[in-house]
């Protein structure tokens, strides 16, 4: 069902853009057949298709990161953005893009390479995640953990604004565009790299499906059922920071997908079994990301909205609704 929806939304996403292309020709160019207009084929295959695939990868990565965080912290409000992980990734990228002002030319020359972007973003994400986790082991209260995460978010944005103050207009512009969030501009080569990291993250997640299920009962029960909690936690953290890091590096810090999608999925399929949840959350994340991107394109117009604005516009109400809803939040 979800898979079918993904295909439909994916095709819809391919069909809309600043140049209007008939649906028949979209299909033709995908299948490699002749179309009426050669540029159409070029637009579809080299611009829109990579963007659609990016949307699928980014959406599912962020949604899965949110799911992992919510299970690990046993907190319904956990997610890559709320816990400051996205901010950590942003800090990594900021250091790379804006840090040239501080560290001179060596880093600036690295900035163009994808690998360094991904490493910086993943490293930043991992660092913040680690700090939040250490804080989490000190304070048992889950509300405090969220507040600590939010504080780290503000802390990193403060550092970023200081760096922004000292950087050149050109660097700043590059960073600002990145922070709006965008799925476009990825070459097939970059996409391949993205997919490699993505597969690694997914593979790690598949290996911890079983311990994640026992973590639904809490850390102590999980341990009593033979779960090696420390290694499970480490794998969860590595997978989350890889996925969040690679997404943030390529598409910018995208809000709310990680937090909202797992909840939406749980409302639709009433299960907590991660064998079902993991694929369902990944698909739902991909679908919502495609829809957000299609909306951001503003079909039939030349304008493109910042992607982050769109995800926030529908994400924020969902979170508020989750908070004011009387029924207990479930995992």
């Amino acid at each position: 069902m979800l898979l079918l929806l993904l295909v439909v939304v994916g095709l819809l996403n391919l069909s809309f853009g600043s140049v209007s292309i008939p649906f028949k020709d979209v299909i033709y160019s995908l299948l490699g057949k002749e179309t009426l207009n050669n540029t159409w084929q070029y637009i579809i295959v080299d611009y829109r298709l990579p963007k659609t695939i990016t949307a699928i990868l980014v959406g599912s990565s962020l949604a899965l990161s949110g799911l992992l965080m919510q299970t690990l912290f046993r907190n319904p409000l956990a997610g890559p953005f709320v816990l400051g992980i996205s901010s950590g990734a942003s800090l990594g990228v900021a250091l790379l893009l804006l840090g040239a002002g501080f560290f001179g030319g060596t880093i600036a020359s690295l900035a163009t390479s994808d690998l360094s972007m991904v490493l910086a973003a993943s490293g930043g994400a991992f660092l913040i995640l680690l700090v939040v986790l250490i804080a989490a082991s000190k304070v048992r209260n889950t509300m405090s953990i969220l507040i600590i995460g939010l504080m780290f978010g503000s802390f990193t944005s403060a550092i970023i604004s200081i760096m922004a103050y000292f950087s050149t207009a050109e660097q700043l512009q590059q960073f600002m565009f990145w922070s709006y969030g965008s799925l476009g501009n990825l070459s097939w080569q970059e996409l391949g790299f993205f997919f490699g990291i993505y597969s690694l993250g997914i593979l790690l997640i598949i290996f911890i499906i079983k311990p994640l299920n026992s973590l639904l009962l809490g850390e102590n029960y999980a341990k009593s059922m033979g779960v090696n909690f420390k290694s499970t936690r480490t794998i969860t953290l590595v997978a989350t920071s890889l996925l969040t890091g690679v997404c943030t590096a390529f598409a910018g810090p995208i809000a709310f997908i990680g937090l909202a999608v797992p909840h939406l999925t749980r409302l639709v399929i009433t299960s907590s079994d991660h064998k079902i949840l993991v694929p369902a959350v990944a698909l739902t994340g991909a679908i919502l990301m495609l829809i957000s991107d299609t909306i951001a394109q503003l079909p039939t117009s030349d304008y493109t909205l910042p992607l982050n604005a769109v995800t926030t516009l529908f994400g924020a109400p969902i979170v508020i609704w989750l908070l004011v809803r009387k029924r207990k939040l479930i995992f």
């Binding site: 499906i209 639904l216 009593s224 033979g226 064998k275």
Partner: protein, 265 residues
């Protein structure tokens, strides 16, 4: 005995329990030499803060012993991997389970995790064990209910069923009756008594239900400050150890009715 299995399933040797705070050992109880026989229901009684939960946590290897050792089936518990240990000891804890979409069946089935493959597929044996555990705890009517729909008494039965599904020789429960009314308290305790008798499981319960413990337990572990006295309830009443359990001028003990009463002063 004809079997070569020893009748003792768990034993502690000069065990000291407590916490390490800033590299200094904070001893709560020391020199504990306890023994748990197969198929025996044991209740741990003692004041708040005397170390009941700490003892349980140490026995289950959830926190390290300060010194001494815990032997399970004549093997030091430190020599067990967590996977092996999870086939020996199962737990029912005081902490509440986070609300989730798990159904009762799924939750009980989590008890099979030590036996399932890397992704947790339930074999036919696993499914039979889960169904059996649910029959033994009389919760088959709840099978497809969600956890958040259950009452406290039902939840406790489900957690006991999960421990049974884990198919361990030892089941450790920390205050399993704490939020229950008197009917459900007795129901849960009788259930545990039957499990130990009929399924030959060794059960350790930390509880404040003194009068029920006296009536139901095969053995009592009485935790006093700095010592732990063990014996059958009747023996402990005869040698007056039970009377001294709560060193309080508010309570008196009646050996005839085997009840603690409010002292009239």
């Amino acid at each position: 005995m004809a079997t070569n299995k020893s009748n003792t399933i768990l034993k502690t040797e000069n065990l000291s329990i407590g916490y390490t705070v800033r590299k200094k050992a904070l001893i709560i109880q020391e020199n504990l030499n306890l023994e748990l026989k197969r198929g025996v229901l044991t209740c741990i009684l003692g004041n708040n803060g005397i170390g009941k939960s700490t003892l349980l946590r140490t026995l289950a290897k959830m926190q390290p012993a300060l010194s001494g050792s815990v032997l399970i089936d004549n093997k030091n518990s430190d020599d067990y991997t967590s996977q092996e240990l999870s086939k020996k000891i199962s737990l029912v804890l005081t902490e509440s389970v986070p609300p989730s979409n798990l159904s009762v069946f799924e939750l009980v089935a989590l008890g099979r995790q030590p036996y399932t493959n890397w992704i947790g597929t339930l074999s036919d044996i696993d499914k039979t064990m889960v169904t059996k555990a649910m029959q033994q705890t009389e919760i088959t009517n709840l099978v497809s209910k969600k956890i958040f729909e259950l009452s406290d008494g039902q939840k406790q039965r489900v957690m006991i069923a999960r421990a049974l599904a884990q198919n361990t020789e030892i089941i450790i429960l920390d205050e399993p009756t704490v939020h229950l009314d008197i009917h459900h308290k007795i129901a849960v305790l009788k259930l545990l008594k039957n499990i130990s008798k009929n399924l030959n499981k060794s059960i350790i319960i930390a509880t404040h239900e003194v009068s029920f413990a006296i009536q139901l337990a095969d053995t009592l572990w009485l935790m006093h400050p700095n010592k732990c006295v063990t014996g059958t309830p009747d023996a402990l009443i005869t040698n007056k150890t039970l009377q001294e359990l709560f060193n309080s001028n508010l309570i008196s003990f009646n050996s005839n009715t085997k009840q603690f009463n409010i002292k009239n002063t």
